[in-house]
């Protein structure tokens, strides 16, 4: 097996056994990136020098110390909305194209402390708003399974990188499905942890009450290993929750027959593509065959989740993006006139069309005359959605649902902004309630595109969520094939 095809866990074993060095592993990923990333377009910025330096340090640390972190020397990719000290962090926006953070996000600090070389920064929808990565102002990212299709979004670069073996795993962020949907579209595993489990310090804010950093990996074991690194309290994030973090990897194995799964009637009566429905239902039958109990549950307010989500997310966004004024950082327009003219033109030139639409929508719902009818009302609906989940989890341990209603679509396949928003039907309720959820591949459709299944757990129920996902993954087995990319020859 080639180095770049190995999972993080396999790489960690090979490194521990001394079969390969961290420098060799890191270099193998850059070789792979050089060979195929011009077709995929996953990365916005590569960090060759610092990554190889980190790899050298990892090799030295392994020689020197007896007790080393489990993922020492295993490299990783980062979505480009996570601040990296001294390396530009663009959010795939013209606004931040030249922005070089003077500090690391807490998750980046944790990866560095764990001795994990950082390969580079991946493409995304501008400011994480979108479901296809087509709203990136800087680059086009293609789905490695079919280069004429989108990778999903907003963490499309991270999903494509892992799927095309351009990184063993990656971090993404999920505000309304931005990890789980691209993971489903690219045939990988994507997990959004419980709100508050992973520090958001150094994550460029989109909608702070919904945003969460999570993992994008080749399998569930890698998810658990990576979550072990990034989870935990951080005094720099006031929404970080101070509680003990279990070892997710050590607790993966379980007897799945002890778990009860809930199928939300409202999700399964939605407009799901027949092939996606068949794949998800057959996975559920496998769970039953293993002895797990499957019950129907209800999430009666979930039909209002999309509208509540877009009101809340846009309102928060309009406030979060208020800081971009061309004064302290970010794009400044070269215009004559007073400071307000400079603000208006800087923001107009720096933000793309979807960002502007969402800022304006957010500003509208926060107007004093609209606040009660839109924003406050949406937050009340949010409370009802969270309560629905609480009641559902009285009847089951884990909820099972599709991750997306269909597979990845062709470029320009969804041009209407409202239609693009509607793609997040099965993912946004989870963010509104702040719950953990994971999407994992459950088969290919007749066109050979991967289909994603989603498992949702109660707040801080990551252990049982990962146990369920691990058991289901073992049962489904690997996808019948992997994306085939043409490799450029060296001569």
């Amino acid at each position: 097996m080639k180095i770049h095809e190995m999972s993080a866990r396999e790489l960690a074993s090979a490194l521990t056994a001394g079969e390969v060095s961290a420098v060799e592993v890191t270099q193998a990923f850059f070789d792979r990136i050089d060979a195929v990333d011009d077709q995929v377009g996953a990365y916005l910025t590569l960090m060759r020098e610092t990554a190889l330096q980190q790899a050298e340090e990892a090799d030295a640390r392994r020689k020197r110390d007896d007790d080393v972190p489990p993922l020492l020397g295993v490299p990783i990719a980062l979505k480009d909305n996570l601040c990296t000290n001294g390396v530009r962090t663009t959010c795939a926006s013209k606004m931040l194209e030249q922005f070089v953070p003077p500090y690391d996000a807490t998750v980046v600090t944790r990866l560095k402390e764990a001795g994990m070389p950082i390969l580079g920064k991946t493409n995304m929808d501008e400011f994480a708003l979108g479901s296809s990565t087509e709203y990136s102002a800087l680059k086009k990212t293609r789905n490695p399974w079919n280069l004429e299709r989108v990778p999903g979004g907003s963490s499309g670069g991270s999903a494509a990188a892992v799927s095309a073996s351009l990184a063993p795993f990656a971090l993404g962020t999920d505000t309304g499905g931005s990890i789980r949907q691209p993971a489903a579209y690219c045939g990988i595993v994507g997990m959004k942890p419980t709100y508050g489990l992973v520090s958001r310090f150094g994550l460029v804010a989109a909608a702070p009450s919904l945003d969460q950093i999570g993992t994008m990996t080749k399998d569930v074991a890698d998810t658990a290993l990576l979550l072990n690194v990034i989870a935990g309290y951080d005094p720099y994030d006031s929404t970080s929750v101070n509680r003990e973090v279990p070892d997710y990897f050590a607790s993966l194995e379980t007897d799945v027959s002890t778990l009860r799964f809930g199928m939300p009637a409202e999700f399964f009566s939605a407009d799901i593509h027949p092939e996606v429905r068949t794949a998800v239902e057959s996975a559920i039958k496998r769970l039953e065959a293993l002895g797990a109990e499957v019950v129907e549950v209800n999430l009666p307010h979930s039909t209002y989740a999309l509208s509540a989500y877009y009101v809340i997310a846009s309102g928060e966004l309009s406030s979060s993006l208020g800081r971009y004024d061309g004064v302290r950082y970010g794009h400044r327009a070269d215009v004559e006139g007073d400071v307000f003219t400079m603000f208006r033109h800087s923001r107009s030139e720096g933000f793309g069309p979807e960002v502007k639409r969402r800022i304006l929508l957010g500003t509208y719902v926060l107007l004093s005359g609209n606040y009660r009818d839109y924003y406050l009302q949406a937050m009340k609906v949010r409370a009802l959605i969270a309560k629905d989940f609480e009641q559902a989890f009285e009847q089951c341990d884990v909820i099972v649902a599709p991750a997306a209603a269909n597979v990845a679509f062709p470029f320009d396949g969804v041009v209407d902004p409202a239609e693009m928003h509607a793609l997040d039907l099965f993912t946004v309720p989870v963010n509104l309630a702040g719950l953990p959820a994971i999407s994992l591949p459950c088969g290919l459709n007749s066109e050979g595109m991967p289909i994603g299944l989603q498992l949702i757990g109660p707040a801080f129920g990551e252990v049982q969520l990962l146990q369920a996902a691990y058991a289901l993954e073992q049962e489904i087995g690997p996808l019948p094939k992997q994306p085939q990319l043409e490799v450029k020859s060296n001569d």
Binding site: S209, V311, D338, V339, R344, L360, L367, D373, Q377, H421
Partner: protein
């Protein structure tokens, strides 16, 4: 039915500090109408007696101890500024 009047659109554009060219306003108006159609669905829900949920976890004011601690050097703070003068952020004229 129009949810957002031309005047409201102008007010929102003004408050958001975004310059929108005259020729882009019509398309933008249509897009916002569509988005508001979907957003206004929340109004169909009876929320009598429901407390709004501002965030997923209950939080009170989170304070750190009032102690000195290291902060970024001035040059780091200014390194991304479009224009700097004498250790300050420089902006166009504010008052005439």
């Amino acid at each position: 039915m129009s949810r957002i009047s031309k005047e409201e659109l102008a007010q929102v554009i003004y408050l958001a500090h975004i310059h929108v060219a005259e020729e882009e306003q019509e398309q933008l108006h249509r897009d916002l109408e569509r988005l508001l159609d979907s957003a206004s669905k929340v109004q169909e829900v009876d929320t009598t007696g429901v407390e709004p949920m501002y965030r997923p976890i209950p939080l009170h004011n989170v304070m750190r101890p009032d102690e000195n601690r290291p902060s970024l050097a001035q040059e780091k703070v200014l390194q991304n500024a479009p224009e700097v003068q004498d250790g300050f952020f420089r902006v166009p004229r504010i008052l005439d």
